[in-house]
């Protein structure tokens, strides 16, 4: 990495702003490779075809089912009836749904936006300057938390937080503390940070890796401290990645189901986040139509959240 920075390193217009904002004027539209519309279409077509057949088609079918009283079994399976928006009004008027929505917002905010993003970035930032062996071990252990399937992860956390002989109680000397019953929400938030940080870490590692080293060099020579470097060099370069990361982990955390295996949504619905609520409605109670309707409600909430993110990131742009 001791190469001489070439003049092409820094895009004359600065790093390209990215993100999901629509219709903004931007400088990355220069067709440098000379793709042209038709060839570009050819590049996009295969992906679009697969997405259309295996994603859009079943998804829209599902949304249609959300307008029916359809169930997997029973009379409503044989002859589903069109019920219009009944599923939506049912869901919105269910106090359990509103409770679940509030829990989910807290869950997403603390475990994903605050927890996973910050810890993930801190890890990516710190790991760059650790000894390679240490770095590998650290990254592997974070990654393990992410790849082990939820069914197993649940046992790991039950063993950690068990009331009788849990590892945590043994370490802290707090014998008999039922963490999952006394601090249920806190427990699943910490759990989700543990479970999902790896993605943010990976994404930010890659993002940091794509910051031109010459810029770090410049900052170092100018005597900038860590904070100044982060603000002036890193942030402008990875703004798009931050937005992507936040959008994705928000969306995923809205759908998270794994805490069900640890708390079963309890005690008394205190950890019944949306993923669990939908599972209860769609599978335990068998109302698949209503489950589909809930998915759409969740998507709309995500759209709202996403537009807030966009606004926040746009305002901060110099």
């Amino acid at each position: 990495m001791t190469t001489v920075p070439s003049p092409t390193d820094v895009d004359p217009a600065g790093p390209a702003p990215t993100g999901a904002g629509a219709g903004r004027a931007r400088i990355d539209d220069g067709d440098a490779a000379g793709l042209g519309r038709w060839r570009a279409t050819g590049f996009v077509a295969p992906a679009l075809l697969v997405v259309a057949v295996f994603l859009v088609f079943p998804a829209i079918w599902t949304l249609y089912l959300g307008l029916t009283n359809w169930r997997l079994t029973g009379l409503a399976a044989a002859e589903p009836e069109f019920v219009g928006t009944e599923n939506y009004t049912d869901a919105l008027s269910d106090p359990a749904f509103r409770n679940s929505l509030l829990l989910t917002l807290a869950f997403v905010f603390f475990s994903a936006i605050v927890g996973q993003s910050i810890l993930g970035f801190a890890l990516a930032w710190t790991a760059r300057r650790l000894r390679p062996a240490v770095r590998s071990v650290l990254e592997t252990v974070v990654l393990l938390a992410w790849i082990i399937p939820a069914s197993v992860v649940a046992f790991l956390w039950l063993a950690l937080l068990d009331r009788r002989e849990g590892t945590l109680n043994a370490l802290l000397g707090t014998d008999g503390t039922a963490w999952l019953l006394e601090y249920p929400m806190q427990s699943i938030i910490v759990f989700n940070i543990w479970n999902g940080t790896a993605f943010s870490m990976l994404l930010f590692s890659s993002a940091l890796a794509s910051v031109p080293p010459s810029q770090f060099e410049t900052a170092r020579m100018a005597g900038a401290g860590t904070f100044a470097t982060l603000r002036d060099v890193v942030l402008p370069n990875i703004r798009g990645h931050i937005l992507t990361n936040t959008l994705l982990i928000t969306l995923w955390t809205f759908n998270v189901f794994a805490p069900y295996l640890i708390t079963a949504g309890g005690p008394q619905g205190r950890t019944e986040i949306l993923g669990i609520y939908i599972y209860r409605v769609a599978l335990r109670d068998g109302a698949l139509g209503e489950g589909a309707a809930l998915s759409l409600i969740m998507i709309i909430i995500n759209l709202i959240v996403a537009s807030v993110y966009l606004r926040l990131l746009r305002e901060r742009r110099p």
Partner: protein, 474 residues
Amino acid sequence: MRLNTGLGATAGLLATALVLAACGSDDDGGGSAGGDPSQNADATEVTLTITDNAIAGGKNSEGAAWITDYVIPEFTAMQEAKGVDVTIEFEENGVDDEDYKTKIALDLQSGAGGDIISIDGIWTGEFAEAGYIAPLTDIAGDAVEEWDGWEQIPEAVQQAMTFDDQAYGIPVGTDGRVIYFNKELFAQAGLPEDWQPTSWEEILEAARALKQLDGVTPLQVNAGVPMGEATTMQGFLPLLAGTGEQIWADDTWTGATDGVTEVLDFYGQVYGEEELGDPLLQQEAQGRDTSFQLFASGQVGMLIEGDYFWRSVINPDEGIAPMANRDEVVGWAKIPAREPGAGLNGQDFVSMSGGTGRVINPNTEFPQQAWELLTFMNSPEAFEAMISIGGARITPRDDVNAEALAGDPLMSFIAEEVLPITAYRPALALYPQVSVALQNATAAVASGTSAEDAATAYQSELEGIVGDDGSIAD
């Protein structure tokens, strides 16, 4: 340009999806009552598929071994002797029951699926209403009535696979619930080794005696939502039977009746101030697993469970919470009615049973051969082979039970003493939701709500499920 094409394609797909979804219900076998029973009856080349929630090396591996090692070779040989070339395929699953149910429901809905399918008896109603399964006589014709096996299967056991007075399948097995207790702990608490309570009060008295022992939870009677159906089957319903009531009787659901309130009050006594049970355990996601572990390690005095507990949980050889000294330490007793004579049909003792069975896929190409295979799998020889492969099981057949269970004291106890007094859940599509409502009620009581309030809340939840048009008795 590209975007327009994309949107156009999307719109086209949407239209197709709507059309497909709209007509899906018409041609997907909804309400199909089976085809022609004599279809392919004389075929000489036959392929049949058995679908079961069993897999070699995993869940119900004995059942899987029985099918591959006994059923398939024996039946193939039998048919070969008749000049019919039968190929039997075995579709193994071995996953969570709900996932299995989803998969076979999808299969049946799309007109696919094995020819012989194992289902839980409790699904019979919802599958029948959805048109996924059909009465056996509609599929295989007169041969069904003529089968000599029916008379060996008690009426009550047959009920497990019956819906609207028609048999949709043949039961494979049944079970029964008892109170297991730890004789060592009983001795320490000064209780008799051959304990048999005759009222709820005597259970509570024993629990109070056990409460004096250090580090022992006297009684585990399942409560709460995380335990799911185990709360209903091992807790609420046997207790309700002990008050002389059933959850579904005379075409109505049971609301906040005296019996329901009494049962909830019993829960209140167990999990209330006296703490004869561990209320926190009922709220834990893996509470049931933990309760098994605790019983196995001598920290729970009494526990209500089915014979499954004996066979698969504390079994010293293959159990998941093995008890090396199970045969010496573990005792069992029948579940008493609230007081002698107060139980269902005026009984002194009560129990609840579930059952699994096998149905024939209404879309089978070979109805006669499928029926023949089904009866073969329910023949006394087949059950005997199953027991010799997988250990003692309570079969639906009296003739088999009488001989095959002799070697296992608990299993023969359940077959002889419990099955005659047991009751079954209604195989209705609404039952699972009612069951959840019952679980909610027990959860409320276990965490301090009064029995009356919990009963009232249950009543209104029940009205939300079944409507309040007189289909609830109170």
